[in-house]
Symmetry: C2
Subunit: 123 residues, 2 copies
Amino acid sequence: MPDTLSQTFSALADPTRRAMLARLSRGEASISDLGEPFRKRMSLPAITKHVKVLERAGLIIKARRAQQRPCKLNPEALKDVANWMEQYRQYWEESFDRLDAYLKTVTAAANEPKKGDPDEHAK
Amino acid sequence: MPDTLSQTFSALADPTRRAMLARLSRGEASISDLGEPFRKRMSLPAITKHVKVLERAGLIIKARRAQQRPCKLNPEALKDVANWMEQYRQYWEESFDRLDAYLKTVTAAANEPKKGDPDEHAK
DNA sequence: GCATTATATAACCAACAAGTTAATTAACCA
DNA sequence: TGGTTAATTAACTTGTTGGTTATATAATGC
């Protein structure tokens, strides 16, 4: 299913493409710049395909200057991922299993002291 | 390539699986609980496969209680994603195109005032 | 022991992803 | 005009994903 977020996550699910993004986080780069670290391992068409995946996922923007195709990061897709992640922040943050979990237990008990709540885990 | 982060992103690249995670963020759930919203659309084996993908990606932890397999979120994988995202925070945050970009231009100009810098975007 | 409930496995299929080589387009340069 | 550089397209192969149906396992309850 080609919903935007799925496309973005799927584009990120490849170390070559993540390396390309890392490269772009240090500045604009052409296709061959982006591919250079992989040229021993893979052909140029493979590289342009990876770039195209990043582009279709909205993670980069490709321009044209002479024969080159200078690429840069597009914040939009990254922002979408960050927004999606937000809803899970409490789960990965250090304090969750300790203070935060404790606080939720306390407030839940105060609001609704009934036992066997199906949402037990959410505390 | 089955590096952990790629597996995690690839597990997230599916709306069914993201919906399952959303369900789990509101509390523990069994396989059939997780699958219930999709039972009109897909078979049970398809559902257990999705759950298995989430499990192998480290996004959930599956226990056993009688015939059920109660699942819960595993913060570890989410934390890995969040950590990876951190390096791009500046790109998606509101202020980037404005203040931050401006500040980088200024400091770059102070250090190296030459024009047509190939790293222009990084400023 | 037997039926029921919950989940898992096997075998299969269609669609897609990631790579290849070979050929093509497009811009620049002399 | 012709050559070089940068990137793309085409055609193909191979492996993986996401689904199916049918069958099997495993724990519970009578």
